[in-house]
Symmetry: C2
DNA sequence: TTCATTCATAACCAAATGGTTATATATTTA
DNA sequence: TAAATATATAACCATTTGGTTATGAATGAA
Protein backbone atom coordinates (compact mmCIF):
# COMPACT_ATOMS: atom_id res chain seq x y z
CA UNK A 1 0.00 0.00 0.00
CA UNK A 2 1.56 3.27 -1.13
CA UNK A 3 1.16 6.74 0.35
CA UNK A 4 -1.64 7.74 -1.98
CA UNK A 5 -3.70 4.68 -1.09
CA UNK A 6 -3.24 5.50 2.58
CA UNK A 7 -4.52 9.00 1.80
CA UNK A 8 -7.64 7.47 0.27
CA UNK A 9 -8.26 4.96 3.05
CA UNK A 10 -7.79 7.39 5.93
CA UNK A 11 -9.74 10.03 4.04
CA UNK A 12 -12.61 7.60 3.54
CA UNK A 13 -12.59 6.75 7.25
CA UNK A 14 -12.69 10.42 8.28
CA UNK A 15 -16.45 10.73 7.84
CA UNK A 16 -18.99 9.39 10.34
CA UNK A 17 -21.51 8.42 7.65
CA UNK A 18 -18.96 6.29 5.84
CA UNK A 19 -17.74 4.71 9.07
CA UNK A 20 -21.37 3.96 9.90
CA UNK A 21 -21.79 2.22 6.57
CA UNK A 22 -18.69 0.13 7.18
CA UNK A 23 -19.96 -0.72 10.64
CA UNK A 24 -23.24 -1.83 9.12
CA UNK A 25 -21.32 -3.95 6.64
CA UNK A 26 -19.65 -5.77 9.52
CA UNK A 27 -23.02 -7.54 9.86
CA UNK A 28 -22.77 -8.79 6.30
CA UNK A 29 -23.32 -7.45 2.82
CA UNK A 30 -26.20 -5.09 2.13
CA UNK A 31 -27.80 -3.38 -0.81
CA UNK A 32 -27.57 0.34 -1.21
CA UNK A 33 -31.12 1.07 -0.07
CA UNK A 34 -30.46 -0.76 3.19
CA UNK A 35 -27.15 1.03 3.66
CA UNK A 36 -28.81 4.38 3.07
CA UNK A 37 -31.76 3.78 5.42
CA UNK A 38 -30.17 5.10 8.66
CA UNK A 39 -29.19 8.43 7.13
CA UNK A 40 -31.29 11.50 6.53
CA UNK A 41 -29.58 12.24 3.28
CA UNK A 42 -30.40 12.24 -0.42
CA UNK A 43 -29.73 9.15 -2.48
CA UNK A 44 -27.00 10.82 -4.58
CA UNK A 45 -25.19 11.79 -1.38
CA UNK A 46 -25.17 8.14 -0.35
CA UNK A 47 -23.95 7.23 -3.80
CA UNK A 48 -21.03 9.63 -3.43
CA UNK A 49 -20.05 8.25 -0.05
CA UNK A 50 -20.01 4.76 -1.53
CA UNK A 51 -17.81 5.93 -4.37
CA UNK A 52 -15.33 7.32 -1.85
CA UNK A 53 -15.26 3.99 -0.01
CA UNK A 54 -14.90 2.15 -3.30
CA UNK A 55 -12.00 4.30 -4.54
CA UNK A 56 -10.25 3.55 -1.25
CA UNK A 57 -10.77 -0.16 -1.87
CA UNK A 58 -12.77 -0.50 1.35
CA UNK A 59 -15.87 -1.90 -0.35
CA UNK A 60 -16.79 -3.91 -3.41
CA UNK A 61 -19.95 -3.77 -5.47
CA UNK A 62 -21.84 -6.83 -6.69
CA UNK A 63 -24.78 -6.23 -9.04
CA UNK A 64 -27.70 -8.63 -8.71
CA UNK A 65 -30.45 -7.50 -10.97
CA UNK A 66 -31.38 -3.93 -10.23
CA UNK A 67 -29.90 -4.09 -6.74
CA UNK A 68 -26.26 -3.43 -6.03
CA UNK A 69 -24.90 -5.36 -3.09
CA UNK A 70 -21.98 -3.97 -1.17
CA UNK A 71 -19.47 -5.89 0.88
CA UNK A 72 -16.56 -4.59 2.91
CA UNK A 73 -13.00 -5.41 1.99
CA UNK A 74 -10.73 -6.05 4.97
CA UNK A 75 -7.37 -5.68 3.21
CA UNK A 76 -6.96 -1.92 2.85
CA UNK A 77 -8.33 -1.30 6.32
CA UNK A 78 -5.88 -3.79 7.77
CA UNK A 79 -3.04 -2.02 5.98
CA UNK A 80 -4.10 1.34 7.34
CA UNK A 81 -4.52 -0.16 10.79
CA UNK A 82 -1.03 -1.59 10.44
CA UNK A 83 0.40 1.85 9.76
CA UNK A 84 -1.13 3.16 12.98
CA UNK A 85 -0.16 0.15 15.05
CA UNK A 86 3.44 0.29 13.87
CA UNK A 87 4.03 3.93 14.75
CA UNK A 88 1.82 4.04 17.83
CA UNK A 89 4.20 1.54 19.35
CA UNK A 90 7.02 4.08 19.23
CA UNK A 91 4.92 7.00 20.44
CA UNK A 92 3.62 4.92 23.33
CA UNK A 93 7.13 3.76 24.18
CA UNK A 94 8.43 7.33 24.39
CA UNK A 95 5.52 8.43 26.51
CA UNK A 96 6.01 5.56 28.91
CA UNK A 97 9.76 6.22 29.08
CA UNK A 98 9.14 9.81 30.10
CA UNK A 99 6.58 8.68 32.67
CA UNK A 100 9.08 6.23 34.13
CA UNK A 101 11.77 8.89 34.26
CA UNK A 102 9.50 11.32 36.07
CA UNK A 103 8.45 8.55 38.43
CA UNK A 104 12.06 7.72 39.24
CA UNK A 105 12.98 11.35 39.85
CA UNK A 106 9.85 11.96 41.89
CA UNK A 107 8.84 14.93 39.75
CA UNK A 108 5.22 14.07 40.22
CA UNK A 109 2.46 16.62 40.22
CA UNK A 110 1.30 15.14 43.53
CA UNK A 111 4.54 14.86 45.57
CA UNK A 112 5.08 12.03 48.04
CA UNK A 113 2.55 9.98 46.13
CA UNK A 114 -0.22 11.50 48.20
CA UNK A 115 -3.27 13.35 46.96
CA UNK B 1 -13.38 8.81 21.69
CA UNK B 2 -16.54 10.10 19.99
CA UNK B 3 -17.38 10.20 16.30
CA UNK B 4 -16.16 13.74 15.80
CA UNK B 5 -12.78 12.96 17.31
CA UNK B 6 -12.48 10.00 14.97
CA UNK B 7 -13.24 12.36 12.09
CA UNK B 8 -10.37 14.56 13.20
CA UNK B 9 -7.89 11.73 13.76
CA UNK B 10 -8.58 9.93 10.47
CA UNK B 11 -8.70 13.27 8.66
CA UNK B 12 -5.31 14.20 10.09
CA UNK B 13 -3.88 10.86 8.98
CA UNK B 14 -5.18 11.26 5.44
CA UNK B 15 -2.29 13.45 4.30
CA UNK B 16 1.18 12.13 3.46
CA UNK B 17 2.95 15.19 4.85
CA UNK B 18 1.28 14.80 8.21
CA UNK B 19 1.91 11.05 8.29
CA UNK B 20 5.55 11.81 7.48
CA UNK B 21 5.74 14.17 10.42
CA UNK B 22 4.27 11.55 12.73
CA UNK B 23 6.73 9.01 11.37
CA UNK B 24 9.57 11.41 12.10
CA UNK B 25 8.22 11.88 15.61
CA UNK B 26 8.47 8.13 16.17
CA UNK B 27 12.20 8.82 16.51
CA UNK B 28 11.54 11.23 19.34
CA UNK B 29 10.40 14.79 19.80
CA UNK B 30 11.55 17.45 17.35
CA UNK B 31 11.28 21.17 16.92
CA UNK B 32 9.25 22.62 14.10
CA UNK B 33 12.21 23.56 11.94
CA UNK B 34 13.44 19.97 12.04
CA UNK B 35 9.97 18.64 11.28
CA UNK B 36 9.67 21.01 8.33
CA UNK B 37 13.06 20.22 6.83
CA UNK B 38 12.05 17.26 4.61
CA UNK B 39 9.25 19.18 2.89
CA UNK B 40 9.42 21.65 0.05
CA UNK B 41 6.71 23.78 1.53
CA UNK B 42 6.34 27.21 3.10
CA UNK B 43 6.63 27.59 6.84
CA UNK B 44 2.96 28.59 7.27
CA UNK B 45 1.90 25.42 5.44
CA UNK B 46 3.87 23.37 7.95
CA UNK B 47 2.29 25.37 10.74
CA UNK B 48 -1.17 24.50 9.41
CA UNK B 49 -0.39 20.80 9.19
CA UNK B 50 0.77 20.86 12.79
CA UNK B 51 -2.41 22.57 13.85
CA UNK B 52 -4.44 19.81 12.18
CA UNK B 53 -2.43 17.18 14.05
CA UNK B 54 -2.83 19.12 17.27
CA UNK B 55 -6.61 19.49 16.95
CA UNK B 56 -6.79 15.74 16.44
CA UNK B 57 -4.82 15.26 19.65
CA UNK B 58 -2.07 13.43 17.79
CA UNK B 59 0.69 15.81 18.89
CA UNK B 60 1.53 18.10 21.77
CA UNK B 61 3.53 21.29 21.76
CA UNK B 62 6.18 22.16 24.34
CA UNK B 63 7.70 25.65 24.15
CA UNK B 64 11.34 25.94 25.12
CA UNK B 65 12.44 29.47 24.49
CA UNK B 66 11.82 30.40 20.91
CA UNK B 67 11.67 26.81 19.81
CA UNK B 68 8.50 24.76 19.96
CA UNK B 69 9.10 21.08 20.50
CA UNK B 70 6.55 18.61 19.24
CA UNK B 71 5.91 15.13 20.55
CA UNK B 72 3.45 12.54 19.32
CA UNK B 73 0.56 11.39 21.45
CA UNK B 74 -0.19 7.68 21.18
CA UNK B 75 -3.68 7.70 22.71
CA UNK B 76 -5.87 9.04 19.89
CA UNK B 77 -4.01 7.01 17.28
CA UNK B 78 -4.50 3.87 19.34
CA UNK B 79 -8.22 4.61 19.58
CA UNK B 80 -8.50 5.07 15.83
CA UNK B 81 -6.47 1.94 15.26
CA UNK B 82 -8.82 0.15 17.62
CA UNK B 83 -11.81 1.16 15.53
CA UNK B 84 -10.21 -0.33 12.43
CA UNK B 85 -9.05 -3.48 14.19
CA UNK B 86 -12.48 -4.10 15.68
CA UNK B 87 -14.40 -3.92 12.41
CA UNK B 88 -11.72 -5.41 10.19
CA UNK B 89 -12.13 -8.58 12.20
CA UNK B 90 -15.71 -8.96 10.96
CA UNK B 91 -14.94 -8.01 7.38
CA UNK B 92 -12.06 -10.49 7.31
CA UNK B 93 -14.22 -13.18 8.86
CA UNK B 94 -16.89 -12.79 6.19
CA UNK B 95 -14.36 -12.84 3.42
CA UNK B 96 -12.75 -15.99 4.77
CA UNK B 97 -16.15 -17.63 5.21
CA UNK B 98 -16.99 -17.03 1.56
CA UNK B 99 -13.58 -18.35 0.54
CA UNK B 100 -14.15 -21.51 2.56
CA UNK B 101 -17.61 -21.98 1.07
CA UNK B 102 -16.27 -21.65 -2.45
CA UNK B 103 -13.45 -24.03 -1.59
CA UNK B 104 -15.88 -26.61 -0.26
CA UNK B 105 -18.13 -26.37 -3.30
CA UNK B 106 -15.17 -26.45 -5.67
CA UNK B 107 -16.28 -23.26 -7.41
CA UNK B 108 -12.69 -22.30 -7.96
CA UNK B 109 -11.48 -20.22 -10.86
CA UNK B 110 -8.92 -22.96 -11.57
CA UNK B 111 -10.95 -26.19 -11.46
CA UNK B 112 -9.50 -29.44 -10.13
CA UNK B 113 -6.94 -27.40 -8.24
CA UNK B 114 -4.68 -27.38 -11.30
CA UNK B 115 -3.28 -24.35 -13.10
C1' DT C 1 -46.58 -2.78 -22.00
C1' DT C 2 -46.64 0.24 -18.34
C1' DC C 3 -45.36 1.53 -13.88
C1' DA C 4 -42.39 1.25 -9.83
C1' DT C 5 -37.95 0.55 -7.92
C1' DT C 6 -32.96 0.81 -7.66
C1' DC C 7 -29.20 3.18 -8.60
C1' DA C 8 -26.00 6.55 -11.22
C1' DT C 9 -24.84 10.94 -13.20
C1' DA C 10 -24.86 15.93 -14.16
C1' DA C 11 -24.95 20.45 -12.60
C1' DC C 12 -24.78 23.32 -9.00
C1' DC C 13 -23.50 25.40 -4.30
C1' DA C 14 -21.29 26.43 0.26
C1' DA C 15 -17.75 25.19 3.21
C1' DA C 16 -13.39 23.02 4.12
C1' DT C 17 -8.64 22.04 2.72
C1' DG C 18 -4.00 22.92 1.44
C1' DG C 19 -1.25 25.93 -0.40
C1' DT C 20 0.73 30.86 -0.99
C1' DT C 21 2.83 35.77 0.41
C1' DA C 22 3.24 39.33 3.76
C1' DT C 23 3.67 40.54 8.34
C1' DA C 24 3.95 40.23 13.42
C1' DT C 25 5.80 38.40 17.88
C1' DA C 26 9.01 36.33 20.94
C1' DT C 27 13.49 34.92 21.90
C1' DT C 28 18.37 34.39 21.25
C1' DT C 29 22.78 36.06 19.56
C1' DA C 30 26.20 39.53 18.17
C1' DT D 1 20.74 47.69 21.44
C1' DA D 2 20.38 45.71 16.89
C1' DA D 3 20.06 41.77 14.03
C1' DA D 4 18.87 37.05 13.31
C1' DT D 5 16.02 33.04 14.24
C1' DA D 6 11.76 30.43 15.27
C1' DT D 7 7.16 30.44 14.91
C1' DA D 8 2.28 32.23 14.33
C1' DT D 9 -1.32 34.74 12.04
C1' DA D 10 -3.91 37.17 8.39
C1' DA D 11 -5.48 37.44 3.91
C1' DC D 12 -5.94 35.38 -0.19
C1' DC D 13 -6.61 31.64 -3.86
C1' DA D 14 -7.66 27.15 -6.27
C1' DT D 15 -9.28 22.66 -5.49
C1' DT D 16 -11.79 19.25 -3.01
C1' DT D 17 -15.62 17.80 -0.28
C1' DG D 18 -20.26 16.94 0.99
C1' DG D 19 -24.46 18.18 0.17
C1' DT D 20 -28.55 19.41 -3.01
C1' DT D 21 -32.17 18.93 -7.12
C1' DA D 22 -33.17 17.16 -11.57
C1' DT D 23 -32.83 13.59 -14.68
C1' DG D 24 -31.71 9.11 -16.88
C1' DA D 25 -30.98 4.03 -17.30
C1' DA D 26 -31.69 -0.68 -16.00
C1' DT D 27 -34.45 -4.04 -13.98
C1' DG D 28 -38.52 -6.12 -11.86
C1' DA D 29 -43.54 -6.32 -11.07
C1' DA D 30 -48.47 -5.55 -12.46
Amino acid sequence: MNEQNLDLVFGALSDATRRGMLAQLSQGEANITALAAPYDMSQPAISKHLRVLERAGLIERIKRGREHYIKANAGPAEQAGGWITYYAQFWRQQFDAVEAYLQEHAEKKTPEGKV
